[in-house]
């Protein structure tokens, strides 16, 4: 579904991604793991079109989208749930969700989707008239997730979706991911909670300093002594 080859990206003069290759199969969960600063967020942003690639190609459903504008990528069915929440602080929860469905492909069924999101995150429904900027860190994270779903994406890019969530919520997020996969969504996940992520993942990539160091089925990486030592704290 998504196929990235030779991806390079840089912030000004500093190159952070060096020829990254990976694939995401339709209907699968693919995980990126790696230390701080390895380049996970940068990959996510390149795929979403927020950081422009300085080299390589990104293909989505066979189409080359390397140079496509970010909003066209959303409309093509590719949606980023960014790290650090990025909600619309002055708008209500409901307006935030509504804005999630601004891409043409999502407009039609947005009210049904809204109910769906509220079902998954009852806390959001409780606070639907609350200004997003006044919510707690975790609540904002839920909102970002919900807003991403509103775009009815086929491929969801989740950058650390459990950051700052209480365990009960983390569990729920992983359950949601699981459900989304079952429902036919494709997911690319960057996660520090490496163990759960790897358990869940169909395929995983380990990044080191902007390069893919290791890849394979999630369970393989989970079993790799190197990964266990460096990323799972064992």
């Amino acid at each position: 579904m998504l196929s990235v080859t030779g991806l390079r990206a840089a912030y000004g003069p500093v190159q952070v991604l060096f020829d990254v290759d990976f694939d995401v199969a339709a209907g699968s969960v693919t995980t990126l793991i790696g230390a701080n600063g390895a380049g996970k967020t940068t990959i996510m942003k390149s795929v979403a079109g927020l950081v422009s690639a300085t080299g390589g190609t990104i293909r989505f459903e066979g189409r080359d989208i390397t140079r496509t504008a970010s909003h066209d990528r959303v409309d093509a069915g590719l949606c980023l749930i960014p790290e650090g929440r990025l909600v619309f602080p002055g708008m209500t929860v409901e307006q935030n969700l509504r804005l999630g469905a601004i891409a043409p492909r999502a407009r039609a069924g947005h009210s049904g989707m809204l109910q769906e999101v509220f079902r998954r995150f009852p806390r959001l429904e409780e606070r639907r008239a609350q200004q997003a900027g006044l919510m707690s860190g975790g609540e904002q994270q839920m909102l970002a997730l919900g807003r991403g779903l509103m775009a009815r994406p086929r491929l969801i890019l989740m950058d650390e979706p459990t950051l700052g969530l209480a365990p009960v919520m983390v569990k729920q997020v992983f359950e949601t991911i699981e459900e989304l996969r079952t429902a036919g969504f494709t997911i690319l996940l960057a996660e520090q909670n490496a163990r759960v992520a790897l358990e869940l993942a169909d395929r995983a990539y380990l990044l080191e300093n902007g390069r893919v160091a290791l890849s394979g089925p999630g369970s393989d990486l989970l079993g790799s002594p190197e990964v266990r030592r460096a990323y799972l704290g064992m």
Binding site: N36, G37, T41, G137, G164, A166, P167, G233
Partner: protein, 239 residues
């Protein structure tokens, strides 16, 4: 009297009771854990203590001084400093400059240039940012900025440091390193910590005692072990 003594603190935001009648005591040299679901009021409590938000009721006494009504900078100079869950680095300054400001102002004393440099180096060392000291803070990754938050709080020379989810975004190996660092800081510098963390392993290992908030109310208090076995906590927090 306890090092940090909070009695009957409440905070109302419009119709929402973010904190109701919270009391707790933190002893010197202790690591005190604060736990609770999202939106339970943990960050709000930090804000009240650090002087960013005025409580609707109750009072906070630190090291024998009543903090209510004092400005955050005053409170910092008394030796109490917090970090921000949603990071606030001095984005346009380098990492080292971020810490220099904290060292210059945090203690309320005039330090010599040599002392400042030492404080900055020590703080960089503690969070393992020495090799990034010349980067602008904006160039750090999110977790790098979280570590900068800790370093900056340390550089103020505070005796009590409140850490708000500084381990979010670290992988388990990095978390263990951070745990070691905090333990060392407590041992070497006799620092006191109040920490909020959803990385439960870390909180359990580190804390001497834990208070659990839910919807602004204290629902449990005790050693990590006691909390781990608490029914109500399991229900609202661990799920």
């Amino acid at each position: 009297m306890a090092f940090l003594d909070i009695t009957g603190v409440s905070k109302r935001f419009g119709g929402l009771m973010a904190l109701s009648d919270v009391s707790l005591q933190v002893e010197k040299g202790e690591i005190f854990g604060l736990m609770g679901a999202n939106g339970a009021g943990k960050t709000t409590l930090f804000s009240v203590i650090a002087g960013h938000v005025a409580p609707s009721a109750g009072e906070v006494v630190f090291n024998g001084t009543r903090l209510t009504g004092l400005s955050p900078s005053r409170i910092c100079r008394l030796g109490l400093c917090r970090t921000f869950q949603i990071v606030r680095p001095f984005a346009g300054l380098t990492v080292a400059e971020n810490l220099r400001v904290a060292a210059l102002y945090g203690s309320g004393r005039k330090l010599s240039a040599v002392e400042i440099a030492r404080v900055v180096d020590a703080a960089l060392e503690a969070v393992d940012l020495s090799d990034r000291r010349h980067l602008d803070a904006a160039q750090l990754t999110l977790s790098g900025q979280k570590r900068l938050e800790i370093a900056r709080a340390l550089a103020t020379g505070a005796q009590l440091v409140m850490l708000d989810e500084v381990m979010a975004g670290l992988n388990p190996t990095e978390v263990s390193a951070m745990l070691a660092t905090l333990e060392r800081l407590r041992g070497d510098h006799r620092l006191t910590f109040v920490i909020v963390e959803h990385v439960i392993g870390a909180l359990m290992t580190l804390s001497d005692r834990i208070l659990v908030l839910d919807h602004g109310e204290c629902i449990a208090f005790g050693t990590p072990e006691e909390i781990g076995n608490h029914d109500r906590v399991a229900e609202v927090y661990f799920g």
